[in-house]
Amino acid sequence: MSTLILRTVAPALTALMLLFSVFVLLRGHNEPGGGFIGGLIAVSALAIYGIAFGVGAVRRAIRFHPMAIAGAGLLLATLSGFLSIFFGVPFMTGLWVYPVIFDVEVPLSTVMSFDLGVYLVVVGAIISIALALEQEPGPELGGEED
């Protein structure tokens, strides 16, 4: 699959898709989108990169083990829910802050950090499946161990 055309286009395409996945993630609060679909787009980006340059390149590029990424996302989502314990409201209640950065009001919420957690869980879980499927059969067929 690794043709010259694909290898030339893949980095640009991957970067663009990753950017788009973040856009979809943030857009998801009020419009179609969100952590789940954003995560899937990010995984597609990494999968294209993997098809062009091999599984090892993707693993180096994402730095962390896919399962660790998923774990971090799960933890972030859980902690977002727990934050409301300090405000006398039930688990998973949305909490907002409105910091003004460079004269622009940026609404941030636990809803968003929860969605970011979902994004990371999807990226971590699906990319570990995708990499295991893309991996050349060989001595490391055990997949996600390396």
Partner: protein, 525 residues
């Protein structure tokens, strides 16, 4: 003129619960959130297998403490509810713990801790890198969620969570035999879960709500028009499949003997009991009238499950398979309680479930240790354990007595309660099935004791006897619980009766979700 409809319209501000949440209410979600959090941390440090044991045990100890605090609070102040995201029930997902849910959650946490300690030795570095402890945490998140949720679709979600974790645990090691067992387990459980989902879909179409307290409130008014008996039958089939009741029990003996022994122990102790929990919750609390109509069918299934379990246990020569049939026989007993349906019978079923959670886990751990000492799973090759490990044999003897339901240990009281309840309604044949099944299980376990413990060893000893705390502590602890409950049954009998009456008359449960003070929806009722 204002029509009555305008008084029931709810604006956005009223759809949020504005009263502040007490810190103690967090106890109802804390077990689940804690387990997910620990699972997440363990996933992040997956490579550092040395840390896994310590983190996991710390998490499970915390879980036991939280569940104990929850049980204490529920028994002191009645059911606890928290609705996610501050939405007014039934719109938000409610977590509601009543006595039944809380006591089951505590029992599950205790055996998970015991299994976790046992796993410190049973699961090697390979198994840990594969993810045993993260899976264990997520399994417990699913189990705790199933016991504590007050929303029937959410119950389905927790079923899925624990099912997916259980797939992971089942194939730990990736041996062909395990894949074979896991495939049967996965397919049959997915069918069961799909049936459950279909039933939930019907239920939503009929009731327009998924909140269990809301369903319990509305069932009476819909009884005349909606096909609730069919719905209940569907739920019963789905949960009976989960619980491994006859005739949908065949997946359990086909899969439970393949994984690591500590995984078998967890599954045998917890997973089937979740099926029973859901069965009791739905049939006793939500659809008692429909359960009455189906009670004969359930009773026949229960009796057959008991007999099949007893005969199966007698026929097996592999110790783990044998224990699997002992689990099935127990499921029959609990279903008998559901079939009878009086508070006394349901409290018998709850007692049996608690006994079974502890005793079956212990029995699997015991089987694993016996096989390690004797070097085989087969009864034809085991022998001489009495001479080799007298203390261990003594513990085994106690557990066998408890599992068979002989006095004076924990298996006796639930059986007595169920026998009395079935004789009270004149179902002598059900009482006979309970007794025959207990007799068959006694024979089967006596056979194990005779062959594996008393018989002189057919071949030279394989394993060594080492007093490893990672084995003696969980086995000893669970046995102590079994003995304690057998000798001092009073507190637990009261607790189970309280739980059963809370299910028979769910007023307190409903009140906890829909407090009269904040309800302006009286017009709807």
């Amino acid at each position: 003129m204002a029509t009555p409809a305008t008084t029931t319209a709810i604006d956005l501000s009223a759809a949020l619960v504005l009263a502040p949440t007490a810190l103690a209410d967090w106890l109802v979600v804390a077990p689940v959130a804690l387990m997910i959090g620990f699972g997440a941390v363990l996933m992040m440090v997956r490579k550092s297998v040395r840390l896994h044991g310590a983190i996991a045990i710390a998490g499970l100890v915390l879980l036991v403490l939280l569940d104990a605090a929850l049980l204490w609070r529920v028994s002191a102040h009645g059911p606890v509810t928290m609705v996610m995201g501050r939405w007014l029930p039934p719109f938000g997902i409610a977590f509601t713990a009543d006595l039944f849910g809380a006591v089951m959650a505590l029992a599950a946490a205790v055996v998970a801790l015991a299994a976790g300690i046992f796993a410190l030795r049973d699961i090697d570095a390979g198994g840990r890198r594969y993810g045993f402890f993260p899976f264990l945490m997520l399994l417990m998140a699913g189990v705790s969620g199933a016991f504590l949720t007050g929303d029937i679709f959410n119950l389905y979600v927790w079923f899925e969570v624990l099912l997916i974790s259980s797939f992971g645990l089942l194939i730990l090691g990736s041996e062909p035999e395990q894949i074979d067992g896991a495939l049967k387990y996965a397919i049959l459980n997915l069918i069961g879960t799909t049936l459950f989902l279909i039933a939930v879909g019907y239920l939503y179409a009929i009731f327009g709500t998924l909140n269990m307290a809301d369903i319990a409130r509305k069932a009476a008014s819909l009884r005349g028009t909606a096909p609730l008996t069919t719905l209940t039958a569907l739920f019963i089939l789905a949960f009976a499949m989960k619980a491994a009741a006859f005739p949908v029990n065949f997946w359990l003996p086909a899969s439970y003997h393949t994984p690591r022994v500590v995984v078998s122990a967890l599954f045998g102790g917890l997973l089937t009991k979740i099926g029973i929990y859901a069965l009791v919750r739905v049939t006793i609390m939500l659809f008692p009238v429909e359960r009455e109509a189906l009670s004969l069918t359930v009773a026949v299934a229960a009796a057959l499950t008991m007999i099949v379990g007893g005969l199966g246990a007698l026929a097996q020569s592999d110790v783990r398979r044998l224990v699997g049939y002992v689990v099935i026989a127990g499921i029959g007993n609990m279903m008998a309680g559901v079939a009878i349906g009086t508070p006394a019978a349901v409290s018998g079923a709850i007692l049996y479930a608690l006994h079974s959670v502890v005793a079956m886990t212990a029995l699997y751990l015991l089987a694993g240790e016996a096989a390690r000492l004797g070097g085989a799973w087969s009864l034809s090759r085991l022998g001489g354990l009495w001479r080799q490990a007298p203390w261990f044999s003594g513990v085994s003897f106690l557990l066998f007595i408890a599992a068979a339901g002989l006095p004076p240990l924990s298996g006796l009281w639930p059986k007595v309660a169920l026998l009395k309840a079935s004789l009270d309604i004149g179902a002598w044949w059900l009482a006979a099935a309970i007794l025959v099944s207990a007799f068959l299980i006694t024979l089967a376990l006596a056979r194990v004791f005779l062959l594996a413990y008393w018989r002189p060893r057919p071949e030279p000893a394989a394993g060594t006897v080492a007093g490893d705390w990672r084995i003696t502590l969980p086995l000893g602890g669970l046995t102590a619980l079994v003995v304690l409950f057998g000798l001092l049954p009073e507190p637990l009998l009261d607790l189970a009766y309280g739980a059963a009456s809370g299910l028979a008359d769910p007023a307190a449960y409903v009140e906890s979700v829909f407090p009269a003070a904040t309800m302006e929806r009286g017009a709807v009722r």
